[in-house]
Symmetry: D2
Subunit: 402 residues, 4 copies
């Protein structure tokens, strides 16, 4: 019988997701994998190797599942973090296939920890969703903007009915002719919150539509802005706005990085500031994305959010005693519940950091995770800038990264 | 004995990577995992579950390995692609934990395939590395720029000595006071090429330094620009510059997406163009990053390169017969050799697409992969814009994505 | 005696501005002009021709004055404006040397007026100044941010002591490592307000410095952002955030522009949206800067503020009846008192628009001026997009603009 | 009779430009001014005061002329410039109404000249025009791109037939779905060149249209990019790409600016680099636009081109001996023939700099002008950064700029 179903799947008479209705998750996975395997004429023996709870993930995380991809996991650290939520030493889980990355982060962690740890502070915390409406014209735009201002509390009430934890913080309007964008910002506690804010905003939109002569064009109008590089996130924030810093002593830089504070400050200046400026970049850092995405993958975060994380600003300033180093991530999405956080390996990585599941009070765990990520990004910046200053980057890649 | 080593590791008397010198890879992995496990007081049973060739990956892809992360893998498609390298129907491997993503891509693939497939063309193909030099001033800058122009062939020869496949295509100079950036662009064939161009450029830099009165500040000066959103990549390209398009018939849109070409064109217009413009964004698309990163993870690509992929431009234009849809990725990094491409599960995903390993001629496979990714991104755009136009996004997320 | 002074000036023994202490303004002007004239060996007969009140302008507007530049002044219109402050028909003064510009604007005005006028609304109105401080680190940054929040009313009181009209609306903090930027936003009524906010912020800074362990690095930290293209102004606004729109009938477009609504909408789409996106632009318009700067020069505004005005978004959408056209200027600086507004010719241009001097209530005149500028920019957009759609741009330039 | 015409003009029965056919320029000017004067109920006595050759300017520079605006003209300097074209000391003409601007530039000039002058070099020189075409899809896009590459010399020949001086240097293609942008770049010698390149490109477009199955959407597709802030100009250049620098001695900084090299370097770092980065800016300078626009107005340049000039990068680096200061303007439009350069006062300003009219060889004068502007912008940067470092900006504005 499965063979007949397989043939139907191959011919497209039955769709990949239709078999979920009749088969157990594991059987459906196997059958789809067989179709793909035969289509391409290849064996898929590795993909079959996983310990994921398929009943759960096929409901929440994946459709048309055929198996799992394995990403090598390394650790850097311990990394001392002096945050408001993350206080202590942490082993940083990094899932990557890029040789030299973990080694680089590790070296940075060692330096930071030896110098007393990274101070980290969160300056803003919210998740946004910005529907776009078509109105009658600029006069209609003004009416809608004023109506929203007057009815904020009703919209808040309606939006919050859809969620146990989410709180609507503000609605910021933006007008472009007869397009009106309303940027809803929520405190989503320990959830990264994209789904939460989508559903909550959808509910609020219903009131707007019923009481105003406007049309909804799209529930997301790109002023959110999700997974696209955007100045609005750099400036107004999305997810956590977080800064981390540390003073690395001159001795440590000379001993461990074989360079000087002055040289590192110059690399940061000419590369991360002048170079990025000249390139029309929104990211003024060395490789924040590398550390961020490796932690995101390890910790069940939405990997595409590295787009926002990549708009970080790194500063390095030399002084008599050593080097002041900082990194600021204006838009760091982080959550410890929802998404991929519950999957076996991912949950273990979160547990390594002491942030698996909801925090107490709610929100404490996602903030702790964000603080650790920021500190880890800082470690990566220090290490790479050090390697560039000492001109041993190419050598490291030649040795570790082929 | 291992217990003693473990204690030393815990106390920091021995470093994580030092044990690689004395232990087998598997034993070192186990020992490190034990340290982390004890440090956090947690069990790491899932991370231990993998079929990765640890001897190989610990040499090339990861340091301080403790195990592997499992990412659920689904497939969308088949997706018909009418490229110059990718011609045929492909099942698209997507590694993600974001519910609804595979289903959304799958729906888009179905539409594209039913309408004859996505046309794809590559307009540029190169990998870049831009060292930054300190010169004496603007007069020195002019001298260096002219020297490089006059000595291009010598630099090319030196750079290409370091690589079997890479070819230096051009060196573009940029000046900012006494900082001079030289953007080296290479054809890296089937490799994504970041390591190749780093090493090759390092060699060329040696000649520059020996014959000019300038100092190298950093081998990468951020005008490359790697893993940061940057207009230079949008405009001048990095990786593959690729466009995909398709005409979706009115019938299909009405039947499968329950909306109209006009509504979808309006969503694309107000969201992807006007909304992104208003947000100061470099990405004029709906969610290119989602598809790109899921394919990157599946196929052993460097996941952080989704930053560049996210700067895509999507257009949708309604017509009598239906909807013209396109996506352009000015900066899509893709490789089928090197990086994580050789790891078991990743190689299987590449094999599903018929692009495992080097192409014939060299470069054909990475181009084929890029064409498929572009077509897959197009499928995601069509599906999400359709969902927004029909206002069923929030419902989909409520159903699939909690 | 003047000859001796002239020789001393030529030799640099006396500085250009020193003679202001001993000579009447007119005599000093003449003497400096003589120096320049002799230095270059040229006659300066035209520069000498002006009716400016030199006693006044040499105190407020210019130093080292040697004469005046004459800029040809044309008018477009009448332009009907349906604003909240500007209601009626206006002749638009445009000071320019670019042939075809006034003709183009005039044609646009004619169309708008014939179609009932441009609707205009102001969505935000404020002038900003953002000093940058150096703090001890991210922990110090958090302290400063919180202190400012707690002491807003004291800072407001102090800032407002320095100005009769200005009101401090908000202080928005931005952090990057140990750099903290505080963006002060003021309602400056009829003044453009740059000087007012500089002086007021300087006063507030004194309190900050006296009660916090921080150092002022610069009274302007570029997050204001003044006279540089910046997403912060596009998103958060600076000066007036204003939108204008109009529906142009199909008949008018065919008769006067010899094209169709569909063609114009396509030009706007591919040029102003897709083209600007592809170029990494912050300006999504055709030539807002042309109209804005010609009005700025005519009306005694600070011409450099055209930088901010150029970040406008133009939309054009075709419909059965014709074409919906809008322009949104997120950051339009405008004032009717201060700066060059009191000078003879400039004041006459303001008077032409009924906005010379302070408004009643204060702020009404600068808002009225902003509304008129926005409507005039719209006229320019319609005219140029029409010319491009009909492909008669090159011809117009060949005829009028050599 | 004139009264009857005036009434017709007031009623709109005769249009403003129609009277040019029957009246002398001066009479038409007077008549239009009378209409505007009566419409607004005001006297226009100042606007009437000018020495412009109205026969000439009404043919080339202005339509619907009613008079002239007078802009106060001051001089800064002498400024020593060590360029390749500009060599010597120059008085810098600045037309502005912003108090303190000339004084500030003057102080900067004094410092630069005392320290040996500003070194200036031009790295690129071209004017661009980028038409946008609609093609059949991405396959059609590829065809067009390849056709253009193969037919460059024919297009060049056709384009250059329309101009005595202009030379087509390159055509760079950009694709976004079925929109294809072709960026034509020309050497326009002493002309700023916008009209020249518009007309030349229009001619080349004719061949493209006659031999390819494509449609011209607009002769300018915004990838030029003209008068909008755009990364493409920062990166690829438009107009002159020019850098200026100088080493200011420690003594001079202390004596004249009452601050230190270290403080100025820090202001530049936190304001022009970190601040601009944090603001999502394309301009990394203090006030390049102020100097540029004042020189543009004085010298008959297109004032709206200050938009491009504002995207300058300023660097300041402290050293034992003093402060290294540079400014780079990637996109500085400058011309000494055409536009407003022939008008009396403007020509006198150009003559002050020795650049009135065409250079020998052609192009030498516009390059000389660009070098002087860059050096003048540098003087403004040094002066303002010095004022901020010494915290006397607000005081200067209080004293000079009310």
């Amino acid at each position: 019988m499965e063979r007949r179903l397989l043939e139907k799947l191959k011919k497209g008479e039955v769709s990949f997701h239709e078999i979920d209705d009749t088969l157990e998750a594991a059987a459906a996975i196997e059958l789809r994998r067989a179709v793909v395997s035969e289509h391409a004429g290849i064996d898929l023996g590795h993909i079959n190797n996983f310990s994921i709870d398929v009943e759960k993930v096929t409901k929440r995380n994946i459709e048309n599942m055929i198996g799992a991809v394995q990403m090598p996991l390394g650790v850097a650290g311990p990394l001392r973090v002096n945050g408001e939520y993350a206080i202590g030493e942490f082993y940083i889980p990094l899932a990557t296939t890029e040789g030299a990355l973990v080694a680089s982060a590790h070296r940075g962690c060692t330096l930071i920890t030896a110098c007393g740890g990274a101070n980290v502070r969160i300056f803003d915390d919210k998740m946004t969703r910005a529907p776009v409406f078509r109105v009658k014209g600029v006069i209609g735009a003004q009416k809608l903007v004023e109506w929203v201002k007057s009815n904020f509390h009703r919209l808040k009430e309606k939006a919050e009915e859809t969620t146990r934890f989410g709180k609507l913080l503000s609605i910021e309007p933006f007008v472009a002719g007869r397009s009106v964008f309303l940027r809803f910002a929520y405190d989503t506690k320990d959830a990264m919150g994209m789904n939460m804010v989508t559903i909550a905003t959808d509910a609020a939109v219903d009131i707007i539509l019923s009481e105003n002569d406007v049309e909804l064009v799209a529930l997301s109008g790109n002023m959110c802005t999700d997974k696209k590089p955007a100045a609005i996130n750099v400036i107004s924030g999305r997810g956590k706005t977080v800064s981390a810093d540390v003073n690395i002593s001159r001795d440590m830089i000379e001993e461990k990085l074989h360079t000087t504070p002055e040289k590192m400050a110059e690399v940061n200046y000419r590369k991360n500031l002048v170079g990025s400026a000249r390139a029309g970049s929104l990211g003024f850092n060395a490789h924040a994305a590398n550390i961020a995405v490796a932690m995101f993958i390890a910790c069940g975060q939405d990997a595409a959010h590295v787009v926002e994380a990549s708009s970080a600003i790194t500063t390095m300033e030399s002084e008599e005693e050593g080097l002041y180093c900082s990194v600021t991530l204006p838009s760091l999405a982080a959550g410890t519940v929802g998404g991929g956080t519950h999957i076996g390996t991912q949950q273990e990585c979160l547990a390594m950091l002491g942030v698996a599941g909801a925090g107490d009070p709610p929100g404490a765990n996602s903030k702790k995770l964000a603080e650790i990520i920021a500190a880890a990004v800082l470690s990566g910046e220090i290490s790479l800038i050090g390697a560039l200053a000492g001109r041993h980057l190419a050598k490291a890649h030649a040795a570790l990264g082929r």
